[in-house]
C-alpha cells in the first residue's frame, strides 16, 4: 500500500505531523494547573504570542483555500485575504483593549460578567459551538484533500487513491488526542512554530516558480490580452518575452472561467446567482456589487467575533503587550497573504487541468499540486514543503478551535452551570471528555463537505460570527445602555438568521435539498442567503438597541464600574477593585 507514495511528499508530511505531536506531548508535561490548560498560564511573550496567533489564524482557508478560490474565481477572491487582515484591524480598534482589561477567560465569561447573567453565558456558549463547527468543517476539507493528495496513487481496497473521508478521520483523531492531552499551552508552542513553517511553505515554492516561469505581474499580464486559449487550440499559445522570462500558457479546459470574467471584478463568485437567473452582464453587476459588500461586512466584522481568536488576547501579560502583539500579528499575516493569490494566478496559467477536478481534486489543491509542474525531484520536494504547510495549517487551526470549543463546554457549561462545586481536577477531566466529543463530531461533519470550497465555508463561519458575536462585543464595550435582554435578542436573532441562511445554502449546494428553480426565480434571495451579513448584522444591532431601550430598567446597577473597568488604564487597578467588590457580595 505504501509503495506508490512520493517519498519526498510523504517524508515532509510525516515529519510535520510527528513534530506537532511530539511538541504536544512535551508541552503536556508542563501543563499542570487548570489555568495552564485554559489560557496558557497567562505568561506568554509578545513574540511567541504573535507567532502563535498568526499560526492559529492562518488556517486551511488561508493556506489552501485562498489560492484555490483565486484560481477558480479570480479577482473577487482577493477580498478574502484582505478582509481577513482588515478584520483583525477592526478587532484591534474596538474590542481588544477593553476586553483584555475586563479580563474574562472566555467570551461567555465576558457575556456573563458584563450583564450579571448566567443565562446569557449559556446563550453565548451555543454560538461558540456553532461558529466553531462551521470553522472546523473547512479545516477537515483541507485535511481530507491533503491526505488524498499525498496518498493519491496507493491502492485502497480495489480503488486508486486514499478516499477523502479516511484523511478526515485520521487527522481528526490525531488532533483530538493532542488537544485532550496538552490543552492550550501545548498549542501555543505548536502554533508559533507552525506559523513559520507555513510562511516558509507558502513563499519558498513561489520564489522558485516565479524565477523559472515568470512573475506575478507577468502571469496576470497574459490574462485578458488577446484570445484566451481553449480546448480547440491543441498546442500552447505562442510565448511572449517579458523581462527575460518566457510565459507559456497551457490550454484552458471548458470548465474554466474565461479571462475577462476571471480577471475583472464582479466575476464568477459574485455574479453566480445572477447568471443562474439568466440576467445579462449589465443587469448582473448591481447584484454582484451587493454580494461583494455583504461579503466584506461578513469577513471584516466576523474576524472581530471569532471566539477562538479573541481568547488569545488573554495570553498577554498586559494591555500594552496585547496591542503590540496585534501589530505583529497584522504584519505576519499580511506578509503571508501576499503569496496565496500568486499560486492561484500561476495555477491558472500553468496547471489549468485542475479546473476539471471536483471536490478534493479541484482547484482547492493548487497549492499542493502546482510545484509538481517542475517535474522530477525538485517538484516533489517543493510539493512536499507545501504539503507540510497544509498540515500545519489545518492542524493548528483545528486544534485551536477544539480548545476554545472544549473550553467553553468544560469551563462554562460544566464548571459554571452543571457542577459549580467541581474541583479543578474534575474540570480537567471533563475537558478531556469534551475534547473527544467535540473532536468526534467535527470529524463526522467534515466527512460531508468535500464538495464545498474551503474559503466559502470559512466565509460562512465569519458571517455567523459577524451577526452574533461582533454586535455583542462592540455594543457591550461602547454603549452602557445595553441590557442583557437586548444583547441576547440581537445576538440570537442575528446569529440564528445567519445560521439558517448558510445552512440552507449548503444543503442546496450539496444537493440534499432541491432549490435550483427557486434560486433562478429569486437571485436576490440567493445572494442574501449565501452572504447574509448585509442584513443580519444591522438586524442584530437594531434589535439590541430597541430591546435595550425597552428594558432599560434592567441595566446593571454597577454599570459605571463595569464601563470603567473596560476603559480605564490597567495601571489604575480598577479591575482588581471590581473583582473584590464582586466577591464581597
Amino acid at each position: 500500500m505504501i509503495a506508490a507514495v512520493d517519498l519526498w511528499i510523504f517524508a515532509c508530511s510525516f515529519i510535520t505531523v510527528g513534530a506537532t505531536l511530539a511538541m504536544g506531548y512535551w508541552a503536556a508535561g508542563k501543563a499542570k494547573t487548570a489555568s495552564d490548560f485554559f489560557v496558557a498560564g497567562r505568561g506568554v511573550s509578545v513574540g511567541w504570542n504573535a507567532s502563535a496567533i498568526s499560526g492559529e489564524y492562518l488556517s486551511a482557508a488561508s493556506f489552501m483555500g485562498v489560492a484555490g478560490t483565486v484560481m477558480s474565481s479570480g479577482y473577487d477572491a482577493l477580498w478574502y485575504p484582505v478582509c481577513y487582515a482588515c478584520g483583525y484591524l477592526f478587532l484591534l480598534l474596538f474590542i481588544a483593549g477593553p476586553l483584555r482589561r475586563f479580563g474574562a477567560y472566555t467570551i461567555p465569561d465576558f457575556a456573563e460578567g458584563r450583564f450579571d447573567s448566567p443565562m446569557f453565558r449559556k446563550i453565548a456558549v451555543i454560538f461558540v459551538l456553532f461558529i466553531g463547527f462551521f470553522y472546523t468543517m473547512p479545516q477537515m476539507k483541507g485535511a481530507g484533500t491533503t491526505l488524498a493528495y499525498v496518498f493519491k496513487e496507493i491502492s485502497w481496497f480495489g480503488a486508486t487513491g486514499l478516499p477523502y473521508w479516511v484523511g478526515v478521520l485520521v487527522v481528526g483523531a490525531v488532533i483530538t488526542l493532542n488537544v485532550a492531552i496538552g490543552g492550550m499551552k501545548g498549542i501555543t508552542l505548536v502554533q508559533a512554530v507552525q506559523y513559520w513553517l507555513k510562511m516558509f511553505a507558502i513563499s519558498a515554492p513561489i520564489f522558485v516558480l516565479v524565477a523559472l516561469y515568470g512573475g506575478y505581474g507577468t502571469h496576470l499580464g497574459k490574462n485578458g490580452i488577446g484570445p484566451a486559449p481553449t480546448n480547440a487550440i491543441a498546442t500552447a499559445q505562442a510565448p511572449a518575452e517579458q523581462g527575460g522570462t518566457t510565459v507559456v500558457r497551457a490550454a484552458l479546459p471548458a470548465a474554466a472561467p474565461d479571462d475577462a470574467t476571471w480577471i475583472n471584478p464582479f466575476g464568477r463568485l459574485s455574479s453566480k446567482a445572477a447568471k443562474a437567473a439568466k440576467l445579462s452582464a449589465t443587469e448582473s453587476r448591481p447584484y454582484a456589487l451587493l454580494y461583494t459588500y455583504s461579503l466584506i461586512i461578513a469577513l471584516v466584522c466576523g474576524t472581530a467575533g471569532l471566539p477562538h481568536i479573541l481568547v488569545r488576547f488573554y495570553t498577554n501579560p498586559d494591555g500594552v503587550a496585547a496591542k503590540r502583539t496585534t501589530m505583529w500579528v497584522m504584519i505576519l499575516i499580511g506578509v503571508f497573504y501576499l503569496f496565496p493569490p500568486v499560486f492561484g494566478v500561476l495555477g491558472r496559467n500553468l496547471m489549468p487541468a485542475l479546473y476539471e477536478g471536483a471536490g478534493s481534486k479541484g482547484t482547492d489543491k493548487v497549492v499542493l499540486e502546482l510545484p509538481r509542474v517542475l517535474n522530477g525531484t525538485w517538484g516533489s520536494i517543493l510539493s512536499g514543503i507545501t504539503c507540510a504547510g497544509a498540515f500545519a495549517a489545518f492542524m493548528s487551526t483545528f486544534s485551536g478551535l477544539l480548545v476554545s470549543m472544549t473550553g467553553a463546554l468544560a469551563h462554562d457549561v460544566y464548571g459554571r452551570i452543571l457542577a459549580p462545586a467541581s474541583t479543578p481536577a474534575q474540570r480537567m477531566q471533563m475537558f478531556k471528555w469534551c475534547a473527544f466529543g467535540v473532536g468526534g463530531l467535527a470529524t463526522v461533519l467534515g466527512c460531508f463537505v468535500e464538495k464545498l470550497e474551503i474559503n466559502f465555508m470559512v466565509g460562512q463561519a465569519f458571517a455567523i460570527a459577524a451577526a452574533s458575536y461582533f454586535p455583542l462585543l462592540f455594543m457591550s464595550v461602547w454603549w452602557r445602555g445595553m441590557t442583557m435582554k437586548g444583547a441576547a435578542t440581537g445576538m440570537l436573532a442575528g446569529g440564528v438568521c445567519a445560521l439558517s441562511a448558510v445552512v440552507l445554502t449548503n444543503l442546496s449546494d450539496l444537493k440534499k435539498v432541491d432549490l435550483t428553480a427557486f434560486w433562478v426565480e429569486h437571485p436576490l434571495v440567493r445572494i442574501l442567503c449565501e452572504q447574509p451579513a448585509i442584513w443580519c448584522v444591522p438586524l442584530a444591532i437594531t434589535l439590541m438597541v430597541v430591546v435595550s431601550k425597552l428594558t432599560r430598567a434592567e441595566i446593571p446597577a454597577d454599570i459605571r464600574m463595569k464601563m470603567l473597568v473596560l476603559h480605564a488604564p490597567e495601571a489604575l487597578g480598577l479591575k482588581q477593585e471590581y473583582v473584590r467588590d464582586q466577591e464581597g457580595h
Binding site: L78, G217, I559
Partner: protein, 108 residues
C-alpha cells in the same frame, strides 16, 4: 441612571472620568476605522462606476488587482501602527490625569 456607589466618590470612579475616557478612545478608534473603511468600501464602488480606469494595466497587474492584492496590506499596517502609538500615549495621559487628581486631593 444608577446612583453613584457611596464607597467611591473620587475622580477615577466619577462619571466625568468615564465619559472622558470613552469619548477620547472612541474618537481615536473611529477615525482610524473610518480611514481604512473608506478605502475598503470605495473600491467596489470604483470598480462598478469606473471599470476601465480600474482595469488599467501596471506591470501586467490590473490597477484594481494591484490595490486589492498587494497595496492594501501596507495601508492596514500603517493605520495599525498609528493607532497603537496613539492609544498607548492616550492611556498614559489618562493614567497621569487620574494620578494628578488624586494628588490634588480628589477635588473636582
Amino acid at each position: 441612571m444608577p446612583t453613584p456607589d457611596p464607597k467611591h466618590t473620587d475622580f477615577i470612579h466619577s462619571e466625568e472620568f468615564l465619559a472622558e475616557l470613552q469619548r477620547r478612545q472612541f474618537r481615536l478608534s473611529v477615525i482610524c476605522a473610518a480611514s481604512f473603511l473608506t478605502a475598503l468600501l470605495a473600491l467596489p464602488a470604483l470598480n462598478f462606476f469606473l471599470p476601465d480606469l480600474m482595469a488599467t494595466r501596471i506591470g501586467g497587474f490590473p490597477f484594481t488587482w494591484l490595490l486589492l492584492g498587494v497595496l492594501f496590506f501596507p495601508l492596514v499596517w500603517t493605520i495599525s501602527w498609528i493607532f497603537i502609538q496613539r492609544s498607548i500615549a492616550l492611556e498614559n495621559r489618562e493614567a497621569e490625569n487620574a494620578r494628578q487628581h488624586a494628588a490634588n486631593g480628589n477635588r473636582r
